[in-house]
Symmetry: C2
């Protein structure tokens, strides 16, 4: 398989925008026709299936419009093994639709365990349908280099990718990530900047023909002031920018995260797309979601080109 | 349900030791009778079931001997939905055996997503068999307070518990966790110490009759020099100490993590117990595992009492 960084580059060129549709199926917001997902008298498998069915419609709307989707594991794990079966179905449907899949799993553990997570999401076991595997996953860096290395190795072996949390989009993210740290080469630096430097190193020998690595970084679009600095610290690292839309960031906020044109970053919107129909009762929810994707793509193109 | 901190206190009193058996079913080490778990021609469900069957025997050996078990989610997730079904079976078997279950899932995400993880592991959905829920889970703090708050809330509501990663047992853990940080009240401090202070605060109103909170902290037993300091920074926080046995720490290394007697910390051993039979071919593997639990309990009692 070609390296994730190159596959991502090509997918963005193909569709002409850097949008990611976040598949975060909040139960409370699902359209009424999927109300069984909220029905306490339905079986767990029925409830999970309704979520998968809803997301397969979203994927159908996203096909050809955006380069990638990002299913959020937590909303599937709520339904235990039944939910994980639907996660696998949603991943396979996304791949069938020609979409890259970034599994938002935020795993992070000691080396031997990190290797198991890398296998779970990027390599699979013998005989497993490769359509159920993610193209890339999100990873937590708190445990340091030896917890990330097995996932980097798996990316090298499989053509998979990873996005390491550097500066997240939530309000408390500064609490630890923006602490000023001492005692390293190069003088004081924010913790997030140290992690950024590590991410660029971890991905150094996974830079493909496109000039972009398969090791990426998550930086909240809610921190436009930090985005340009982090981009400079990670010149070959593709960024994943959550926080657009429902979390408050707009098109002007994300420009600093990009390289040339549309390349170098993906911008994620979840609720703003999936539940766009909430505020447009005159439209079918699927048309509203498709319209929200088109609008976001146009906004980002206008800001970037 | 009584608070996790108190239930843990009582369980340690009852069995007379603070040992946790880590349920990390590394495929390569499973006894030959579970070789189907390694068989590429077997179905995924068959392979996952072999792991569950093995761990149910370990749980049977652990019942009454130790207060808790700690299933490692990654080794189940390797088998996707089939593995998660076995995770649920192993959790239920542990509860039936009277063992507390610490789900080693190391989740961490923005607030709304963290709430979904808390539901997945501590609350469940309507009608779910409560035996499939964990008593406590491990949590990654990198995203800060608002990512942890929904899990604290769930602990308050359900009597569940959590262990926040503070200083992990792996060799690279110092890379970020031991950075010296500035710019906060109280002058410079290691990142791990800042996180420790936050953990003690997060758990403050979940301190039960036992004097211990339901919000705990993970501190590697591989850092004996730091253990006593972190214990002082978190006087009411129960610790979970991995790294004993296969990772190199011994009984003398863990003493600083404890409060009075056997209380205040749990010590985890995974491979050293599960695969004790590897070095004792004259014994059945289950007897070897039970013997390793007894030996570890005796070692810790000797060091602590």
């Amino acid at each position: 398989m070609r390296p994730f960084g190159d596959r991502l580059h090509d997918a963005v060129e193909r569709v002409g925008n850097p949008c990611v549709v976040g598949l975060d199926p909040h139960l409370a917001h699902l359209p009424d026709e999927y109300a069984v997902a909220r029905d306490p008298s339905a079986s767990r498998a029925e409830r999970a299936r309704a979520i998968g069915d809803f997301l397969c419609e979203i994927i159908d709307a996203a096909a050809g419009k955006v380069p990638a989707v990002k299913p959020q594991s937590a909303f599937f794990e709520v339904f235990g093994a039944d939910g994980v079966a639907e996660f696998e179905r949603v991943v396979a449907a996304s791949k069938d639709a020609g979409l890259l899949v970034i599994g938002d799993v935020k795993r992070g553990d000691i080396g031997s365990t990190a290797a198991a997570y890398a296998q779970a999401f990027l390599r699979g076991i013998e005989g497993q349908d490769p359509r159920t595997l993610c193209d890339s996953i999100t990873v937590n860096p708190y445990l340091g280099s030896d917890s990330v290395a097995p996932i980097v190795d798996e990316c090298r072996a499989t053509g998979g990718g990873m996005y390491v949390l550097v500066r997240t989009s939530n309000p408390s993210s500064a609490e630890f990530q923006a602490l000023s740290t001492e005692g390293c080469e190069g003088g004081p630096a924010l913790l997030a900047d140290r992690v950024a430097g590590a991410v660029e190193r971890w991905g150094q020998d996974l830079v493909g023909d496109s000039g972009w690595s398969s090791v990426g970084a998550v930086v909240g679009a809610t921190h436009p002031d930090e985005l340009a600095r982090l981009r400079r610290l990670m010149p070959q690292t593709p960024l994943l920018l959550p926080g657009y839309g429902a979390q408050g960031a707009g098109a002007a906020d994300i420009v600093g995260g990009f390289g040339d044109g549309l390349q170098g970053a993906l911008v994620n919107s979840s609720r703003g797309i999936l539940f766009a129909g909430k505020n447009q009762p005159e439209k079918h929810w699927k048309d509203a979601a498709a319209g929200a994707m088109d609008a976001m793509a146009a906004e980002l193109r206008a800001a970037l080109l």
